[in-house]
């Protein structure tokens, strides 16, 4: 069909899609900070437990995406069962497709931009609906649900998805800093990390009614006065319990955070000089992590789609029965600790092992395929993304020309070419470095916490960078200056 474009298919739905208005005027620095923080907190508050299902359900299937949750701020058995995954992945993939010219969008036209946004939003809602119903039909919320219960669950899961989408849109439309998914991810990851270390809530761990604290550190302290265990036993358990966060993982997660911080400021400085004024040589920094954690999020988005599809096939078609033909090909799920559904071979190749030594014995191929998948997709994405994200060598060359800058010792005509090499190399290398850090943690058995920490620290850093920049530019007269201190060069 001539002139058919995918984004035009959204036109009939336009009147039904909710939309956030652009701000009327440029927001004050204080307002932006408030919007950013409060949207994150509203999101956290929205992770309410689901109503309408039994309290002690015995699900036929447990959590199959446990290792992907951290990267997308998804809370099991809450309204935000899938977190911001559909928002994040759809936004990312649609922009990638548009940038690679697979989807035809003319971003110069206001109308096209709006259509593109609405199309993305529609896709997000559809995905929330599909995922919710896959989980419901698979028996994740218990079996024998009445139609009314299914409707209530659908209403909650999809409704929360719509609210989350709008929350993200508020930040994206200029009320807050950076991008919505990044803010929400960072805040949710910070919260989870804190909860894993000093969380005080008591969680039932066995049928006899014993409870243990969620936080690893609190658990260690409580272990000294636990009646059902010896002191030595509780110390050992504090370091290696499998069902709740333990101190070993907490320490590894903190180390990963510190390592990512170290790589944040890696940069290659290209000498540049002005074409207008003489003897004013400066440097242009090319940052190693210029794509930040997006590459890792992209790999995890692909993983999420793979596991969601496999989950739908295995539970709805194969009934999770090892003798079924689908399960023979793809593997099936095994219940572990009554909370996790761990895939078996060959699906397990795309999941990180649950523990380092156990994984080495049970699923040695996971140690090859999973890292290879993350690195290859991450590097590919970073390479493509830097070309379309508005910071590519060509865009930069245009900027340079406008400001009358050029690379020292190079001809002015070749600036774009000369810039391309270091920038694309930096993006690809940066993606590989981040992937390597995340994988190192995942292979040690962190179940997604390593990746989420990498994403969280990267997000935190770019937020901090942007807020500092904005504060220096228009933060004078901010009532927050008492808290933030005088504008300084960070």
């Amino acid at each position: 069909m001539a002139g058919f474009r995918l984004i035009d298919t959204v036109k009939p739905f336009l009147p039904f899609l909710p939309e956030v208005e652009l701000p009327y005027e440029k927001l004050q620095f204080d307002d932006k900070v408030l919007y950013t923080v409060f949207i994150g907190l509203i999101y956290l508050f929205a992770q309410l437990p689901l109503a309408g299902i039994e309290k002690d359900i015995v699900p036929t299937i447990n959590d199959p995406i446990y290792f992907l949750r951290g990267a997308f701020a998804a809370e099991p058995r809450s309204l935000l069962e899938f977190g911001i995954f559909p928002i994040f992945s759809t936004g990312l993939i649609m922009q990638l497709l548009a940038g690679l010219k697979v989807i035809k969008v003319n971003f110069k036209l206001q109308k096209d931009r709006e259509l593109f946004q609405s199309f993305t939003k529609l896709m997000i809602f559809v995905q929330y609906f599909i995922f919710a119903n896959v989980f419901i039909l698979a028996g994740y919320y218990g079996t024998g649900l009445t139609i009314f219960q299914i409707a209530v669950l659908n209403f909650q899961l999809v409704g929360a998805g719509v609210v989350a989408t709008l929350l993200v849109e508020i930040i994206d439309k200029g009320f807050g800093f950076t991008s919505g998914p990044m803010v929400i991810n960072t805040i949710a990851i910070a919260t989870n990390t804190i909860a894993d270390i000093i969380g005080v809530s008591q969680i039932k761990i066995d049928d006899e009614g014993h409870t243990e604290a969620q936080g690893a550190l609190i658990n260690l302290v409580q272990g000294f006065r636990a009646k059902h265990k010896t002191i030595l036993g509780s110390i050992v358990s504090a370091f290696n319990r499998d069902y709740l966060p333990n101190l070993t993982t907490a320490v590894i997660v903190l180390i990963i955070g510190a390592v990512v911080c170290y790589f944040q400021n890696f940069r290659v400085e290209l000498p540049i000089r002005s074409t207008r004024a003489r003897a004013s040589n400066t440097v242009y920094p090319v940052r190693l992590l210029n794509v930040a954690s997006l590459s890792l999020s992209f790999s995890y988005s692909l993983l999420f789609y793979i596991h969601m599809t496999a989950f739908a096939l295995l539970t709805l078609v194969g009934k999770n029965d090892p003798s079924n033909i689908v399960c023979k090909i793809l593997g099936h799920y095994e219940n572990v600790n009554n909370i996790l559904a761990v895939p078996t071979f060959p699906l397990s190749m795309f999941a990180p092992p649950r523990s380092f030594f156990g994984g080495l014995v049970q699923a040695p191929l996971s140690f090859v395929v999973f890292p290879a998948f993350i690195i290859v997709t991450g590097v590919w994405f970073a390479y493509k993304w830097q070309g379309i994200s508005g910071q590519s060598a060509r865009d930069l060359a245009v900027d340079f020309k406008e400001q009358g800058l050029t690379l020292a010792g190079r001809r002015e005509q070749n600036v774009a070419k000369e810039l391309d090499k270091p920038i694309s190399l930096a993006s690809a290398t940066g993606a590989a470095v981040l992937a390597a850090i995340a994988i190192a943690g995942e292979l040690l058995g962190l179940k997604g916490k390593a990746t989420s920490m990498v994403i969280g620290i990267c997000g935190g850093f770019s937020l901090l960078e942007l807020i500092t920049l904005d504060y220096q530019q228009n933060g004078s007269g901010s009532s927050l200056s008492q808290v933030l201190g005088a504008p300084t060069n960070m």
Partner: protein
């Protein structure tokens, strides 16, 4: 331009060894933060992370009583 990019991309995918070498030399050329800068980053990110985390966790604690009410 497009063809050239595609070519480079293939090189990256086809020869991981070359990519590894290039990446490695890129990393060694990088200007690395010194200890003082590094501590500054860790402190700034760390304080922000912990502050937001504690506030967030306080909000999550509200969920515990709610869980008993609505479930």
């Amino acid at each position: 331009m497009a063809g050239e990019k595609g070519n480079q991309n293939e090189n990256i995918l086809e020869s991981p060894v070359k990519f590894f070498q290039e990446g490695n030399s890129f990393l060694s050329k990088c200007k690395k933060p010194n200890f003082k800068e590094y501590m500054q980053i860790v402190r700034a990110v760390g304080i922000g992370f912990v502050a937001v985390g504690v506030i967030g966790y306080a909000i999550k604690l509200i969920h515990i009583p709610i869980r008993y009410v609505i479930v």
